[in-house]
């Protein structure tokens, strides 16, 4: 990536205006062959708009795009792909019910005439995956593989189009750490072949691990382009946010030692004894007290989400017992849990959390209305009051509460979900990866609100793959491995290293 060399891609003075918003103003971007270039910025900074301009989804209002020195004007993602710019999106947009091979060649089988040459297609698919160091059965349906593998297939698909530039839009947001490592090894391989890679992510650690240079965007403007080596984490975050931020958190370990101790005295709000379900988790013992945050750590697939599903009545346990507020309880549906004062922010915000087409107002009052039942209808005015209250309280950025929630940014959607539960006045909140895919400021606001409620007596079960977050936000930490709880300790007594040892199978 010698600076004297010509960039493989150059975007100059790109501006884009949507009705009511200046999404990009005069943004420059340079990408060299053989480098990984990260685009960082908070939600709404203009990262996705920039990518959409580059891939021809939106035309730019002003500015030029130069590909190897020649001006291009992609008119559609397909057009961009033909020019050698391929994109792998955050949500894998492949057909999961088709085979791996079909997914790689979908829309392109026709190039051999009318008939599909299945054998050749399979052989080529296997070859392309082997190039990414992935050796799997290409005739199996895509859905039988993990998200990480699906993402690799998406990459393989874009590579088979002879791409010179690969755009990875939040590729790691649903991956476990090991899967990220696999993805990164693929990225490094592609980089060594001279490909230019644009990497968009929220994960600061990952940026520092993989990126050569970083372009920071804020409010649709370019803050600057920096070699990764010349930036510290805290300066990067400061540039993204545009103001000095205190290291978010550090709350539980020091500040809350006192309430944490008081909580030890109280009777547990929720107590699971040997809770389990066939094909899910086994023998889970958990206690969460009022005013206490219990962290639940472990790798993706270790049984954290499955545990949450049992506690919230989504799945029914077939072994063990569950006590809520001191009473043995059988939760047969989420409504049962809600009526006992439990709320649950699920891991998959889009699929299990928001009701996209409905308005922000309706999304906020939905759980409260369910709790009240069909016939105790909240008046429109009351609904407005409730939603306005939480929009203000959580700082949800939205022109008005009637906007479909699907049009909000990830951070605002997560806040809407939190608002939904806060409106029900819960006694316990289960948060499954509440900070995934949202920006630093929103993360701090959300966790601030949750911990504030916790200080006032709410119980919290906090699930996250990021051990550092789990330790920071919780009083106690339970660690899961292979669908069992393997350890539990006070957050103050543990550091990331010891927890990772437990996760990796070392001694507790």
């Amino acid at each position: 990536m010698a600076d004297g060399a010509l960039p493989i891609l150059e975007m100059k003075g790109i501006s884009k205006r949507f009705p009511g918003v200046q999404a990009l103003s005069g943004v420059d971007l340079r990408l060299f062959a053989g480098e990984v270039h990260a685009i960082m910025g908070q939600n709404g900074a203009g990262k996705s708009t920039l990518i959409k301009v580059l891939t021809g989804v939106h035309p730019a209002d002003t500015g030029h795009i130069l590909l190897e020195g020649a001006e291009i004007r992609p008119t559609s993602p397909l057009d961009a792909q033909r020019l050698g710019i391929s994109t792998v999106y955050q949500e894998v947009n492949l057909c999961t019910n088709l085979s791996v091979a079909e997914n790689i060649f979908i829309g392109r089988e026709g190039s051999h005439g009318f008939a599909i040459r299945w054998k050749e297609m399979r052989r080529k698919a296997a070859e392309q995956l082997a190039e990414l160091n992935l050796h799997i059965d290409v005739t199996a349906p895509l859905s039988s593989y993990s998200i990480a593998v699906q993402q690799m297939v998406a990459i393989a698909r874009s590579l088979s189009a002879k791409a010179r530039i690969l755009i990875l839009d939040e590729p790691t947001s649903s991956l476990a750490e090991e899967e990220v490592r696999l993805l990164f090894s693929v990225i490094r391989r592609l980089k060594s072949h001279g490909m230019g890679i644009l990497f968009i992510t929220h994960f600061i650690d990952q940026t520092f691990e993989i990126a050569d240079r970083i372009t920071v965007l804020r409010n649709g403007e370019r803050v600057g382009e920096f070699p990764t080596a010349a930036l510290s984490r805290i300066t990067l975050v400061t540039k993204m946010v545009g103001r000095e931020i205190a290291e978010a958190g550090a709350r539980r370990t020091q500040a809350a030692a006192a309430p944490g101790a008081a909580a030890q005295e109280a009777a547990p709000f929720l107590r699971a004894e040997g809770l389990g379900k066939k094909g899910s988790v086994h023998g889970v013992d958990l206690e969460v007290r009022p005013g206490e945050a219990l962290g639940l750590g472990g790798l993706l697939g270790s049984g954290r989400t499955e545990t949450a599903r049992l506690l919230f009545g989504i799945d029914r346990p077939d072994e063990g017992a569950l006590h809520v507020a001191g009473v043995e309880t059988d939760l047969s549906r989420p409504l049962d849990a809600i009526q006992r004062g439990i709320g649950f922010c699920p891991e998959d915000r889009k699929l299990e959390g928001i009701v996209g087409e409905l308005s922000l107002r309706e999304n906020i009052i939905l759980a409260l209305q369910s709790k009240l039942g069909i016939f105790r209808n909240l008046s429109r005015r009351r609904q407005q009051e409730i939603s306005d209250e939480y929009i203000a309280k959580l700082g949800i950025v939205v022109p008005d509460a009637e906007m479909p929630v699907a049009k909000l940014s990830g951070g605002n959607q997560q806040k809407a979900l939190l608002a939904r539960w806060m409106a029900t006045d819960p006694r316990m909140l289960i948060l499954d990866e509440p900070t995934r895919g949202i920006d630093v400021a929103a993360k701090a606001e959300i966790m601030g609100q949750v911990l504030d409620l916790c200080d006032r007596g709410m119980a919290v079960l906090f699930i996250s793959s990021e051990m550092e977050e789990v330790l920071r936000y919780s009083d106690r930490v339970a660690v899961m491995r292979d669908r069992r709880k393997v350890a539990e300790m006070a957050s103050g007594d543990a550091d990331e290293h010891t927890v990772f040892q437990i996760i990796a199978g070392g001694q507790a």
Binding site: F18, P19, G20, F312, I314, R333, P334, L335, I338, Q339, F344, P346, L351, E352, G353, I354, V355, G356, E357, L358, E362, L366, A367, Q369, S370, K371, L372, G373, I374, F375, R376, N377, L378, R420
Partner: protein
């Protein structure tokens, strides 16, 4: 004085234009516009089209006729609207119409009793007949609801089962006969008059009121839309998605039952093979014309009513305009095609761009 009066008038015009623009964005606008256009077309080709005369204290005229004939379809469309809003479909409504008609006719009995003139004889009292027919129809709906919500079958397959077997059931009930109804009090359902208006108006009004109260005065409408958009997220938010789906299908069956009573009363017989034939398709069309998406979510009961009226007005117009019978279906298809195209956001954005409006932000 003049200058002073001019300003508010201009403001008024601007406000009216604003209101008009807001109105064109609403879901109900296109079906309503189609209906108005159809009626205008009739008015031009036949100046007497809108005239309503009073005979024997009853109102007669093409408009009354359209409303009256559309009644069964309107009632079915309302029930189906809720089903479609849950991202479901019910293709069995036509068969349920036949079943309801068969139950009513069988319970009345098909004998013509003549002793000193025609006698009105029914095997069972009329209220019982009506209750039984509606109950059987609601049971049919519950069967669909059971398959969809608790067994987890895809709605089109689940209701296809009843669509196919329903006509067989109807024939079983009538022992394979077309039962003629000679009991004149039953004629009132489809042919009676109250306050100078056809009784079916009041049936439509009652169903509309009941559905609107259920959907908008309780939280049912919100829950139905939530389930239609995202059943998993709705369940996680405490919505009893299964039981709501179940009852919505039951309600749809019940509506089809009412339509069955009107149809059998209209033609004074119950024909298991032909009563309500292809009603399901017209009803789906009415709902879609009314602006409710087959993908579920937002729904408009009034829109579906207008959709049903468009379909009936179209049929009446085609006959009135003297379109040769061999091309009527093509004309009908063209109009439906045009309305559907106009309702697509993509087409409307393109048209808007042609007119010079700013592109609607996605």
């Amino acid at each position: 004085m003049n200058a002073g009066a001019g300003r508010p008038a201009e403001g008024g015009v601007a406000a009216a234009a604003q209101a008009m623009r807001a109105f064109t964005r609403r879901r109900i606008f296109w079906p309503l516009a189609t209906l108005v256009l159809l009626l205008l077309f009739n008015l031009i080709s036949n100046p007497h089209f809108f005239s309503i005369t009073i005979r024997d204290g009853h109102l007669y005229g093409s408009l009354v006729d359209i409303l009256n004939r559309a009644a069964p379809l309107m009632i079915i469309s309302m029930g189906l609207t809720l089903v479609i809003a849950t991202h479901g479909i019910d293709v069995s409504v036509g068969a349920v119409v036949a079943i309801s008609a068969a139950v009513a006719a069988t319970l009345i009995g098909g004998q013509l009793v003549i002793s000193g003139g025609m006698q009105d004889v029914s095997r069972y009292p009329l209220p019982l007949v009506i209750l039984a027919a509606l109950a059987v129809a609601a049971l049919c709906g519950m069967w669909n609801g059971l398959l969809v919500s608790y067994v987890g079958m895809q709605p089109i397959i689940a209701t296809l089962i009843l669509m196919v077997t329903g006509r067989g059931v109807a024939q079983l009930i009538t022992s394979g006969q077309i039962i003629t109804i000679y009991y004149s009090p039953f004629y009132f359902v489809g042919n009676g008059w109250v306050l100078g208006l056809p009784f079916s108006f009041f049936l439509v009004g009652a169903v509309l009121a009941a559905v609107l109260v259920l959907a908008r005065r309780t939280a049912l409408g919100l829950f139905i839309e939530a389930v239609g958009v995202n059943p998993v997220a709705s369940r996680f938010a405490g919505v009893r998605a299964r039981s709501i789906t179940f009852w919505v299908y039951a309600l749809c069956g019940f509506c089809a039952g009412i339509a069955g009573l009107i149809v059998s009363s209209n033609v004074k017989s119950a024909d298991g093979n032909n009563a309500g034939l292809l009603f399901e398709l017209d009803a789906i069309l009415a709902v879609v014309l009314g602006g409710t998406s087959l993908a579920g979510g937002r729904f408009s009961v009034v829109g579906s009513l207008v959709g049903a009226l468009v379909i009936q007005a179209l049929t009446t117009t085609i006959y009135a305009a003297g379109v040769p019978p061999e091309v009527t279906l093509v004309v009908k298809a063209l109009v439906v095609f045009a309305v559907s195209i106009l309702q697509s956001d993509r087409v409307r954005n393109r048209l808007g761009a042609l007119v010079g409006n700013e592109e609607v932000a996605r």
